[in-house]
Symmetry: C2
């Protein structure tokens, strides 16, 4: 229990829930596109016609209705063939990470991860007292030669953890070559890969790329997904898919962790897929997020001083900012909060700490006008911090 950093973020996020704050700190889907109106009559009909299944216990693996939907999604969105029996329903993909920790990690075991990496994975794996080694990462993903070095030289590597599509926090998307390379290295060294793909469907430029799992010839890639970004996080529905030999320990771990995911939310999600054009729904989400990303990038181009660099993600919910080396994003956050703008300093996304000059911005939760205004204010804060010391104070 030493995820103090996660709890620091919790405190930041609490402040940012105040209604007068322009928050780029969270990772919330846009409330405007949550399908509450569509789900309202569905939930009623479901409880009337299939109420016992919705309210009674269900198998740990998940209800077949939903596992069939996920199997179909895997074919359409990820181009991989998995039967419903190859799927475990979990309470959001965060639970998939926790179960991976429970299945694979003991005290002192090593997780190889990107640098930076997803904070929730750090929290989940730290709870099992694992160590992290950050693999050299560039704009195409993990650098295979560095991954190979570490696999060859490090003891007790139990998991390679990757987020190849529009990573939280960096927005980075891996190239196809890197995806294949990681699958190949995992096979050569016999180390399981946890591929976390919450943002794979949120692609705004070009076509989706095949997952690492599609290059898996050794049955070592465990793919995690979620309905939180394409449907609604409040349902708490995610999934794990892997070869049976690897999936079975996840099922047992899930049984000990919480018996099963809510029967009601499973059936509601399955019904939404049955009754709605989900592709059209996702296309609408992408349209909204595409516009918000563009608004943020436009404002950054206009208001950010040129010493500051940032990523231009082709999808997902986040982009990543690098300040000049001597600047400290934690201190700038204090000043930004005075201007009523919030973000997350980047340090917490590095298991080894450091990188104080980085920060994460979320572009999905705020409308375009507030994005522009928030970035304008942030630009002012950053410009003032960059100005030579004493200039402001010496003005009479």
């Amino acid at each position: 229990m030493q995820n103090l950093r996660a709890s620091d973020i919790r405190e930041i996020l609490k402040i940012t829930q105040r209604p007068d704050i322009i928050s780029f700190a969270g990772g919330l889907p846009a409330s405007e596109v949550l399908p509450a109106r569509e789900m309202a009559p569905m939930a009623r009909d479901l409880l009337n016609s299939d109420g016992i299944r919705a309210l009674q216990y269900a198998p740990t693996e998940g209800l077949l209705d939903l596992r069939e939907v996920i199997s179909a999604q895997l074919r359409r969105s990820f181009s991989i063939e998995r039967t419903p029996d190859d799927v475990l329903v979990v309470g959001g993909s965060q639970q998939g990470l926790d179960l991976a920790g429970k299945v694979f990690l003991d005290e002192g075991d090593v997780v190889l991860c990107e640098s930076p990496t997803y904070l929730g994975a750090i929290s989940a794996f730290r709870a099992y007292q694992a160590e992290f080694a950050e693999v050299l990462t560039d704009e195409e993903g993990m650098v295979p030669s560095d991954l190979e070095d570490r696999l060859r030289t490090m003891d007790r590597v139990k998991i390679i953890y990757v987020v190849p599509d529009f990573q939280n926090p960096s927005g980075r998307r891996w190239s196809v070559e890197r995806r294949r390379a990681v699958a190949d290295l995992a096979a050569r060294f016999g180390v399981p890969v946890i591929e976390d793909a919450p943002y794979a469907n949120l692609c705004y430029d070009g076509e989706p790329l095949p997952p690492v799992a599609s290059f898996d010839r050794a049955g070592l890639v465990i793919l995690l997904g979620t309905f939180s970004k394409i449907l609604a996080p409040g349902l708490r529905i995610g999934w794990v898919t892997a070869e049976k030999r690897l999936l079975q320990p996840f099922v047992l771990a899930k049984q000990g962790a919480d018996l099963q995911t809510s029967s009601l939310t499973q059936l509601l999600a399955a019904r939404f897929f049955a009754d709605h054009d989900v592709d059209a729904h996702i296309a609408r989400l992408c349209e909204v997020y595409h516009a918000r990303r563009d608004a943020m990038l436009r404002a950054m181009d206009e208001f950010f001083p040129e010493e500051i660099s940032f990523t231009r993600p082709a999808g997902g919910l986040f982009l990543w900012v690098e300040l000049p080396e001597d600047m400290d994003a934690r201190r700038l956050l204090e000043q930004s909060l005075e201007e009523k703008v919030a973000f997350v300093p980047g340090e917490c996304f590095y298991p080894g700490g450091g990188h104080l000059n980085t920060l994460r911005l979320n572009f999905s939760a705020m409308p375009e006008d507030l994005i522009t205004e928030g970035i304008r204010r942030l630009g002012r804060v950053f410009s003032e911090a960059l100005a030579p010391v004493g200039v402001g104070a010496s003005t009479p």
Copy 2:
């Protein structure tokens, strides 16, 4: 990952889902009393009027609406005063057990438990590689002198785990004196108590007794409850309440485990409490279960050979059977399944194994006529097993 026993039970429960089986094996609430019809319009109204909150992310602690309901329940049903801030919403009380394991247990740590004890707790704590020590237990609960001996002599005791109300599997209810004694011993030795109270509201004879938590002067008792037995297990709503100092690590562990419990099911449960007479609902459940328990006991009195003893629980969902020492309930299960009746052999409820002559019967899931018929068949299987070898075969 060595809960092979839990997976054996999973296999038994799968067989017992066949519709022609009279199953006393599961622990399901009666499907007839699940409030699906009442919840159907509520779910629709909730999604129409409060849809964003129902579908968006929520705080890890749980939504205030529901924590207020739980705080009120704690006052009315458990006679303890806790504010909503003292409550963490979890995905069923099984998750409370998992989080307790994550917070308190490392490899080789010791859990003191009743003998027998709840199988789900064995699974949850074993995942953290804990050891178990079964405290001497009689019909009034844990024997305080034995508990004290173990607390004095054993190293690395991190948790005392108790189910004082109508325990799964035994149906046993602890006396008030034993409840007080455990709280006192925990305080003297500074060891946290996990008090698991899923059945506390299901009391058919006499009045509910005060929880161990009500005798806690040292702030060491962590009380777990669930809406699975009084409302619907498919919602996956449970709660943990403890002093802030102990609750805070549970909140952080929950964040790493699955971020939060479903916003939708939280609001639906809260609304059910706001719009319905929950006491009347629970009274109706108790009426149904009371009648089923009586039907089972009546049939056992009539059809079970007198060499077989069993508990007469004043509440809950289960009763406990002891066969003569040389009989093996696992073997009798095979014969019972041929007669299309299922139960759970008792061995899996003992962390140390053994006790092959015990078994658990559930009386909540089957209507009274099937209970009577199932017990009649079980009585025949047991009588045949008791008959001197060869008697049947020697008849021409």
